[in-house]
């Protein structure tokens, strides 16, 4: 007799525990306002990353197509993966030979977004972009030249 009572108690206790769990799910079923799904990619226009989001690395240019990179190569040295290659050239300013940036090559496919290049640049030429959709059809599209065509170095005031 006792065994039967125990058994029934156990079954009822089990059903009660399941109903307790169900009460949570039913609550959310009737209050869809608490649901937090996003309609991506429909919300692309309004989707904004945080300011510090580490997306693609890019070089800051001003309106006159000028950047501040001196071609020193510190970012290249600090990159753990060899994603950056700085090619410098020699220019003549006021009859004096000077080192300047020719090409700043950035291979996004090898980048781990660690932030060391942006942080270590002495002239604050690099920054992280907000891009997060980086899939391409061709791997070579991930190699970018960061200094824009015909850009020059900004003269420091």
């Amino acid at each position: 007799m006792n065994a039967i009572v125990e058994y029934i108690k156990e079954v009822l206790g089990g059903v009660k525990s399941l109903l307790t769990g169900l009460s949570v799910t039913v609550k959310y079923f009737f209050s869809p306002g608490e649901i937090v799904t996003q309609e991506y990619p429909e919300n692309r226009a309004t989707l904004k990353m945080f300011d510090r989001f580490r997306g693609n690395v890019y070089m800051i240019h001003n309106e006159q197509n000028q950047h501040t990179c001196t071609g020193c190569g510190i970012c290249e040295m600090n990159c753990p993966n060899g994603s950056i290659e700085v090619i410098s050239k020699t220019i003549v300013v006021d009859d004096k030979k000077k080192k300047a940036l020719d090409k700043h090559i950035y291979r996004m496919g090898m980048c781990t977004f660690c932030g060391l290049c942006v942080k270590s640049c002495p002239s604050k030429s690099l920054a992280f972009g907000q891009e997060f959709e980086n899939s391409v059809y061709n791997r070579s599209d991930l190699t970018r030249i960061l200094n824009k065509p015909n850009s020059t170095i900004a003269i420091k005031q």
């Binding site: 089990g14 525990s17 307790t20 769990g21 949570v24 799910t25 989001f53 977004f113």
Partner: protein
């Protein structure tokens, strides 16, 4: 391998390859399970499917560059892993970081722990067939990831620590957001108990399953909430306080039931402990530098160094042998998951194959940390 094959002695014995692409292993882990009918006779893990040679890669990198590689060990405790390397470098150089850095690091570590346990709770429920938990857990984890993203720029792999401090100062919104998040979590965590902890099916599958005695836990080196579920006091935050852990009050959660339920409840309790640690620190973050000035090229003096921290899954240790160069001569990580995995064979012998999944879930394995 030969050992396992020799164990086949009856006609109903057979092998089952669980993984490397099985959803319940949460990664590319292959388990060769020797079964008699439904009962597990023994089990052999085959590692190496996600071996990237991180320790070898570290040898060619400088110390600041190593940090971002440690993110990729146990990606759910990225912050604690970063911290271990930074603490080691600071200890070797005798650099004292400001209190601000210590507070920020501790808060971030505890947030990581909560985020990691939330994901574990989600996935553990899913392993046992409760898909609902997965959505609810991830919903709440999202708040913490947003906090991380706002301050550090990364959601999962933060690379936020650097030798001598942290990469950026905390975001102006940081404190407000953390407090909001704690309020939110306090409201939602009781739901977890309603959904899973009291559930009769879950109870039957967790209580008394996957026993690991204290002696075995110690000899296998099972640490973290899993080890503490067997009564093994192994919380590095208590034993060797680092960062700001000596300034806060918290309990080391220890249970002696030794089963899956004890490991489960340990993690649920750690939510509350972590939240209380954050609450004690969040309003009193002292002013100061977020970074101590370090030399541009960091060279550790010759010698051997070891530093351990409590990651979300147990004791994480870094061993460095330096020859005075700017990169380590040899580096070795003591990862909690490899030790936890080693106990799995012992725990599942004689259990049913379905319980193997439950026991593995209760150990909370992260595979990239095992293979490295």
């Amino acid at each position: 391998m030969t050992n396992t094959i020799a164990n086949i002695d009856k006609e109903e014995d057979y092998f089952l390859n669980l993984g490397p692409q099985h959803p319940s292993t949460h990664g590319v882990l292959r388990l060769l399970v020797n079964l008699r009918g439904e009962v597990v006779k023994d089990l052999k893990p085959y590692c190496g499917y996600i071996h990237r040679g991180i320790e070898k890669m570290c040898e060619r990198n400088t110390y600041p560059q190593i940090i971002h590689l440690t993110d990729r060990l146990d990606y759910l405790s990225a912050h604690q892993n970063n911290e271990a390397v930074c603490l080691l470098v600071e200890k070797a150089l005798g650099v004292e970081v400001s209190d601000r850095v210590k507070y920020i690091r501790t808060i971030m570590s505890e947030l990581s722990r909560i985020a990691s346990h939330l994901l574990w709770w989600s996935a553990f429920g899913m392993d046992l067939g409760a898909l609902t938990t997965f959505f609810y857990g991830l919903r709440d984890r999202e708040h913490i990831l947003d906090i991380f993203e706002e301050t550090t720029g990364g959601r999962l792999l933060q690379s936020y620590n650097c030798p001598g401090g942290v990469m950026y100062d905390i975001h102006p919104n940081f404190q407000k957001r953390v407090k909001e998040c704690l309020v939110h979590l306090k409201k939602k965590l009781p739901e977890y108990d309603k959904l899973l902890t009291g559930n009769v099916i879950f109870k039957n599958r967790a209580i008394g399953v996957g026993l690991l005695s204290k002696e075995d836990a110690i000899s296998f080196g099972v640490t973290g909430p899993s080890g503490r579920g067997s009564g093994f006091s192994c919380d590095i935050r208590k034993l060797e306080p680092y960062s700001a852990y000596d300034k806060v009050q918290f309990d080391e959660i220890i249970r002696t039931e030794c089963d899956s339920m004890a490991r489960y409840k340990n993690r649920i309790d750690e939510f509350y402990q972590s939240m209380s640690i954050i609450e004690q620190l969040i309003d009193n973050i002292p002013d100061g530098d977020y970074q101590t000035k370090m030399k541009p090229i960091i060279k550790l003096p010759e010698g051997q160094y070891y530093q351990r921290v409590e990651s979300s899954r147990g004791e994480f240790g870094v061993f460095v042998e330096s020859r005075g160069e700017k990169n380590p001569y040899r580096i070795k990580f003591r990862s909690p998951n490899l030790a936890n995995l080693s106990a799995l064979d012992h725990m599942v012998r004689g259990q049913k194959i379905a319980d193997l999944i439950a026991i593995m879930g209760s150990l909370d394995l992260v595979i990239p940390d095992i293979d490295r």
